[in-house]
């Protein structure tokens, strides 16, 4: 299981454009994508815009993005870049 820890930099947090961009990329991946807050909480489905909005990640909070399988490292790198983008 690969994972990336990323601090969300966008002022709006992982909402609106960052959330939509993240989920759009996650949905293209063949494997499951899980997203959790670093400090507790169950992981949610990274391919669900509802789940990501409800996770309510604010600017400055850190998330852990996980995936496994062929190509998961590349997907994780791309998702981490989206989540970290200001």
């Amino acid at each position: 299981m690969g994972e990336r820890k990323v601090t969300v930099a966008a002022e709006v947090g992982l909402h609106a454009r960052p959330a939509a961009t993240f989920v759009q990329r996650a949905k293209q991946a063949s494997m499951d994508i899980a997203v959790a807050k670093l400090n507790g909480g169950d992981p949610v489905n990274g391919k669900s815009i509802l789940a990501i909005m409800a996770l309510d990640v604010r600017q400055g909070e850190t998330v852990v993005i996980s995936a496994e399988g062929d190509g998961s490292e590349e997907v994780l790198d791309e998702l981490a870049a989206i989540a970290a983008a200001p």
Binding site: V12, H15, A16, R17, A19, A20, T21, Q24, S48, I49, L50, M53, A54, D56
Partner: protein, 148 residues
């Protein structure tokens, strides 16, 4: 099947008419948008369920079947940091369809240089699952679309 109600009265214009590509390109999801009547009023819950996200300018209601609907009051209104919006319900509250959730005035949003158009998005809806999309004049609480 869920019937999604118009959270505000106005003219149903479709997501393509929203001046924000995140919505107009369908990145957030399928749905429509309403160009709201100007003047003070209250945006209502589009479905019955629980308010899982309550921002001053946007809210998400999730029904008992797990379907979530996002209502976004105006474009770029996150920048207002709540000014011009008054919550009438709280995150975690259960609401009935049509229950007032946020008091606001689209005319004030427009006067501030932002579009008051309201995207209404069926979150995670798959292609073809929305039918009966209203076009043109809708009153608050009218059926806006059906979600299979």
């Amino acid at each position: 099947m869920t019937t999604v109600l118009a959270p505000v009265g106005g003219e149903a214009v479709g997501l393509a008419a929203v001046p924000d590509p995140v919505f107009s390109a369908g990145m957030v999801g399928l749905g429509t948008a309403i160009d709201p009547l100007r003047g003070p009023g209250a945006a209502v819950a589009p479905i019955a369920g629980k308010i899982v996200k309550m921002h001053p300018h946007a809210y998400v209601v999730v029904g008992d079947d797990g379907k979530g609907v996002l209502v976004h009051l105006g474009i770029d209104t996150v920048q207002l940091r709540g000014e011009g919006f008054r919550a009438l319900a709280a995150e975690g509250d259960r609401v009935r369809a049509g229950q007032p959730v946020v008091a606001w005035d689209p005319a004030v949003i427009e006067a501030g240089g932002r579009s008051p158009v309201c995207p209404v998005v069926a979150l995670d809806a798959v292609s073809g699952s929305l039918t009966g999309l209203a076009v043109g004049d809708v009153r608050v609480g009218d059926a806006l679309f059906r979600w299979e």
